[in-house]
């Protein structure tokens, strides 16, 4: 068979594709359970840290997560738990960021009047700019903000006041920060209407 002939080229291309794709599928299948487990642990870690439950290692996470109650209401899933004698609600959210979907968890108090914490599970924002929403400096703002009737807002020309529901934006990432305010405000409104607060 001629090496540069049509038949050889087609057969060669087919075999090469088949072999490489076969090995890839095999590897993917082999690690799928591990990847799913990692994703599940990452989700549980996010919910725990939004609520403010400390864990020392990943091994403790599933046990601690067992104690969080899962509630379904009107097709929405919530998590409820007690911490230091207070009831805390948490909800996973997903909303449009600048480049893709931002997924995370927001935890609030029983009256849905103050935030307890925020954790980001996944996002595709610009690394180093919008991507900084998953850094502690941004997330820690969400410990104890007074939620307004319409949710959250930006400070305009004043320092962010947690009593006014204000969240500082990330410098250089206005669009991502705006998305976060919109997403979180709508999460809070959903929680209020579903849980009847």
């Amino acid at each position: 068979m001629k090496k540069d002939g049509m038949l050889y080229t087609v057969i060669f291309s087919f075999i090469v594709c088949f072999v490489f794709v076969f090995i890839l599928s095999f590897t993917n299948e082999g690690t799928r359970e591990l990847v799913q487990f990692n994703q599940q642990v990452a989700r549980q870690k996010a919910i725990l840290s939004a609520i403010g439950i400390a864990y020392e290692s990943d091994a403790q996470v599933p046990d601690l997560f067992e104690r969080v109650e899962r509630i379904e209401r009107n097709g929405e899933t919530f998590f409820r738990t007690e911490r230091d004698g207070r009831t805390i609600y948490a909800k996973e959210f997903a909303g449009a960021g600048l480049w893709g979907i931002i997924e995370g968890v927001l935890a609030v108090d029983a009256e849905i009047s103050r935030t307890v914490g925020l954790e980001i599970i996944d996002h595709n924002e610009t690394p180093g700019l919008g991507g900084r929403i998953d850094e502690a400096a941004y997330k820690e703002q969400f410990r104890d903000i007074r939620i307004q009737d319409d949710g959250f807002r930006f400070p305009r020309g004043v320092p962010a006041d947690p009593e006014e529901g204000m969240i500082d934006a990330v410098t250089g990432a206005t669009r991502t920060s705006e998305s976060m305010v919109d997403i979180l405000s709508s999460v809070v409104l959903t929680m209020r209407s579903t849980l009847g607060r």
Partner: protein, 205 residues
């Protein structure tokens, strides 16, 4: 700087890939990722390790297959081989280093588009034996890694005031936002090319 004619001695290849025809600052290849990933040293390091692995392994594979590859589909096959190794890197990171995988996000997949890898496969592995091709791929990747780590060092230092995530700059130091953004890599890349060329010209004189 024709790579096809490069001498196939390990020492000469090492010097050529790390210095006299360094993929980043002499050939100015693969700079897209040099601009994108270099604002944190940790991300840069893992990205560069991925590139070293992919360049070395794809060079080895292309060299092993070279006698069988029809000329017409040569580049498509090279791309397939490169994509194969990059996806392997991605799967391994997702399964065994989920935190790193999360931090790097889309960067890993983008290794496929790095012109250095395709360049070495086409210019070297296509016309050289497997072992020396593997070595060529590794040293090319190392040349890429070296320059990126230097850029990332300065960008993280001035942009975040940290090195590998540890604060080193005094508290009064204002972080330079420009260093976090891609344009600053242009300045550093320009400086490195300028310094590199100067030293080389002096050596030649």
């Amino acid at each position: 700087m024709s790579n096809a004619a490069a001498p196939a001695r390990p020492g000469a290849i090492l010097k050529s890939n790390l210095w006299t025809s360094n993929p980043i600052f002499m050939q100015v290849l693969g700079i897209c990722s040099a601009l994108a990933v270099t604002n944190l040293l940790v991300n840069t390091f893992i990205m560069a390790v991925g590139v070293v692995f992919t360049t070395a392994m794809s060079n080895l594979t292309v060299s092993l297959l070279k006698k069988m590859i029809p000329r017409k589909v040569r580049m498509i096959v090279q791309t397939l081989v490169i994509a194969f190794y990059v996806i392997i890197v991605d799967i391994v990171l997702r399964a065994y280093l989920p935190d790193v995988s999360r931090a790097l996000g889309p960067y890993v997949g983008l290794i496929i588009t790095n012109c250095i890898i395709m360049g070495r496969a086409e210019a070297f592995a296509q016309s050289n034996p497997p072992i020396i091709s593997f070595w060529d791929g590794m040293t090319s990747g190392a040349g890429y890694m070296g320059v990126l780590m230097v850029i990332a060092f300065f960008r993280e230092l001035f942009g975040f005031g940290t090195l590998f995530g540890f604060r080193v700059m005094p508290g009064w130091f204002p972080d330079w936002t420009i260093m976090v953004m891609p344009p600053s890599a242009f300045f550093f890349l320009g400086l490195i090319i300028w310094i590199g060329k100067n030293i080389m010209n002096r050596e030649a004189a």
